[in-house]
Symmetry: C3
Subunit: 344 residues, 3 copies
């Protein structure tokens, strides 16, 4: 089944404002292309230490209120650190509180700063323990990890092969990663870690996991005295991520969500091509020819699966976000995509 | 021993034309720089499903007819798929038929879409079984695998370390690989996977295997209404592959073979330099100095081996394709290269 | 503790000149920015075979004479080769002689051309054996390896995880590496192995080791008939290495040392920013707020450690090379950096 995670939008779960849940509420009630596939109430770096309790309360209250009307997935990010037991203990307490209070309303828990595979197993065990204690179905609360330590990258193949049915996504965390490796921002900018992104995409695919890129925090830039949304640079990062097969991108802002949702969605030309190929394939099959060539390319089961993936992605988006597919695709084309037979 | 695989040319073993073996015959009878080092009769994606039987018959018939006069190696590509037992069973039957009929005329079998190391072992076992059944010497029929799944890339070091004496080459398959990872072709073109190519070259070297790049299928391009052979783009890909130490490149067309054979062959300047270094080394040795410095560089055994490799590659080409070395090198230089003492 | 290895300068331990120790002496008595963090008397490729005995004598004599006044670390490079037992035996003899004669004056031994992890273990065992025989404290003589074989790169994670307290640094060796992989220098120059450098930086960080880039041997270039120091190209290589988090760069010349020492040293703007952040953090802590945000960024222990690293690097340099910090930083700023409280 095609699972959507075009956008992984973190929202600080508490900020020092009158409405401390402002960003969290905004994420959970977003509409149109600003609606993220995954909303991540952030109890970790996005929330100040003295607001951690409020952040947990906000998360429980707002998830409780909005989850049923939110078409995406909800994944709170807790505190964790492979190198600090006290932080892990706070993370376990947050996991317990979340599972006890809104365990049937969240899809999983995001665990940052994991280390080697043993540390990822420890995070998975914490979820399993409370899942059992509070009577949730085994495996119903999943795990996504932020890959941002040298140890996690070193163990990436072992982590992706855990195969425990709980680990669902690998998310890159470039800021901590660059700091841990001692990377520097000199005249040519920050390192972009292209080799690591290739491996992240590969290991996620090998393990049947989703792969998500890291945040882009230069939200605005300035030119000739005017500050404006830095939309080109973000779109270029998201396109690089899509090119190497990441399923989605991190978003820190509704504008970023709106861009990444579109970039990680098949283009109209891609959908049209794959719909036409499947239609041609079905027609050829019905005329009895044993094998089928479309556009001069033999269609085997693997090729067919690629065409079908495009169509199924569009269908999944259409099920829960029909305003996005309506805005993106010609009506006739969308209708054909929804009606096709996509099994081999 | 230097083994040549500058070019890995696939030829569909059956096409829907009057002469269904047209491309296969053309490959097996090519001359000059169009003669591939490895010819790969393609029973897999290059052949339509309804022509698979014809393809196998063509392969047997033409290999039988042309193998003795073909100076390169012959490596049929069979069907396989780590994720589909039915396809693997067809592959095993193809291997059996090939080994039984032309087992003494082929150098090995190319197995595509392998998965983790266990799957590569299964392919090797199939070859071993029929090699034994039909009385061929152990290890005489080798294995080359197409690396085109996330699992194979994840296991690349384990695969390259098999050390079974049967696995001879790792060949990249970018089309299936990109599809499996969900990579996309956006405005900056397809992903080129530079990190993977570095690893492919490294693991092949570590395991004593050959490494070959993936196919380039944009054979022609069009400009201002005229279509022409896309020779610059292909040469650039082959040069990138040669730079990181791949031994050869995939060819889909005699023009590509002619280019890749040249690019993966030492340049005249490279040959001249290494011949002169070996000559200087031999002279210095004969004058009795214990150690020798050439061009200000100390010559140790490792350095010497690099010089010798260039010369031995040229000799190997000269043995079976003298028209290529004659066209490429000055007569005097070639003569010196053939006469040198290249052992340490 | 921050350990300095901004520069890894090799000096041939014997050259065919009247003063055969010319370069070695020059390295051990360098001053200012030309003073390398690590000086590597080279008994391997930098020394001609017939001068190996002189090289060992020079090393012992000069290290004995200059070590106490040399502010950096001293790491002789011995002979070794994963594929040649005779070379390894020569290496073991060199290690024995060095440990016996100047074991308390050197910081470690650099072992080149290592292969898989078992070979690195063999090098570590040789050091351990003589360390014990000659009564040095366990672990007092460390090991740095040159990563320049496909096998070492294949085993990089296993090597970095040895965790024996003896292995201290991974140093890249591109010349042998490129030759072993069969990489070539075509029109776009030599391969730069960016994927490998990412992994080297990652595995070194994961294993708590230092990571150092490879030598740049095009020391001079020529234009319009004039030959001059190739300072731009070297600086660009060092900046690429610093960007991905290598701790230091290889130097073949005092000019290179002077450049790499500067590039791998925090810039004044970096130091100022981190000093200000720590000061702001300390002030906020003293006013009793539980948590502290600086420049709109929450400061947690990990963030703080990054700020502190910059300051501690500067302090380490200042301890032993005050002329470098004096030349680089404003007096007032340096004073503040030296006075700060840098524990969490």
């Amino acid at each position: 089944m095609t699972r959507l995670c075009r956008t992984f939008q973190t929202a600080p779960a508490a900020v020092p404002r009158e409405d401390s849940a402002k960003y969290l509420r905004s994420g959970l009630t977003a509409e149109g292309f600003q609606l993220p596939d995954w909303l991540v109430p952030d109890l970790e770096d996005g929330t100040a230490p003295e607001m951690k309790d409020t952040a947990l309360e906000n998360t429980i209250e707002l998830v409780d209120e909005h989850a049923s009307g939110f078409p995406g997935e909800i994944w709170p990010r807790v505190q964790w650190g492979y190198d600090d037991e006290a932080t892990r203990e706070r993370g376990r307490q947050e996991i317990e509180t979340l599972v006890r209070s809104v365990g049937d309303r969240i899809d999983g828990v995001v665990v940052p700063k994991v280390g080697r595979v043993e540390d990822v197993r420890a995070a998975a065990s914490a979820i399993e323990e409370y899942e059992t204690s509070y009577g949730h179905a085994p495996g119903s609360i999943e795990l996504a990890v932020i890959v941002e330590s040298a140890r996690a990258v070193s163990d990436l193949d072992r982590i992706a092969r855990l195969g425990d049915g709980r680990l669902a996504a690998l998310v890159f965390g470039p800021v901590d990663y660059t700091a841990e490796l001692g990377g520097r921002e000199l005249d040519d900018g920050r390192p972009t870690w292209p080799g690591l992104l290739e491996r992240l995409s590969n290991e996620a695919s090998a393990g049947g996991l989703l792969a998500v890129g890291g945040p882009f925090d230069q939200l605005y830039r300035e030119r000739a005295g005017v500050q404006f949304y830095n939309g080109d640079a973000y779109a270029e990062q998201v396109e690089r991520e899509a090119t190497v097969g990441l399923d989605g991108s991190w978003s820190l802002h509704p504008n970023q969500t709106a861009q990444a949702n579109r970039i990680h969605m098949p283009r109209e030309s891609e959908l049209r091509q794959d719909v036409e190929r499947i239609e041609a394939f079905e027609e050829a099959k019905s005329t009895g020819t044993g094998a089928v060539s479309v556009d001069g390319q033999m269609v085997d089961e693997a090729t067919f699966k690629n065409f079908a993936n495009t169509v199924e992605t569009v269908r999944r988006i259409d099920e829960t976000r029909p305003e996005q597919t309506a805005a993106r695709y010609d009506d006739g084309l969308l209708g054909r995509a929804l009606d096709l037979e996509t099994s081999w």
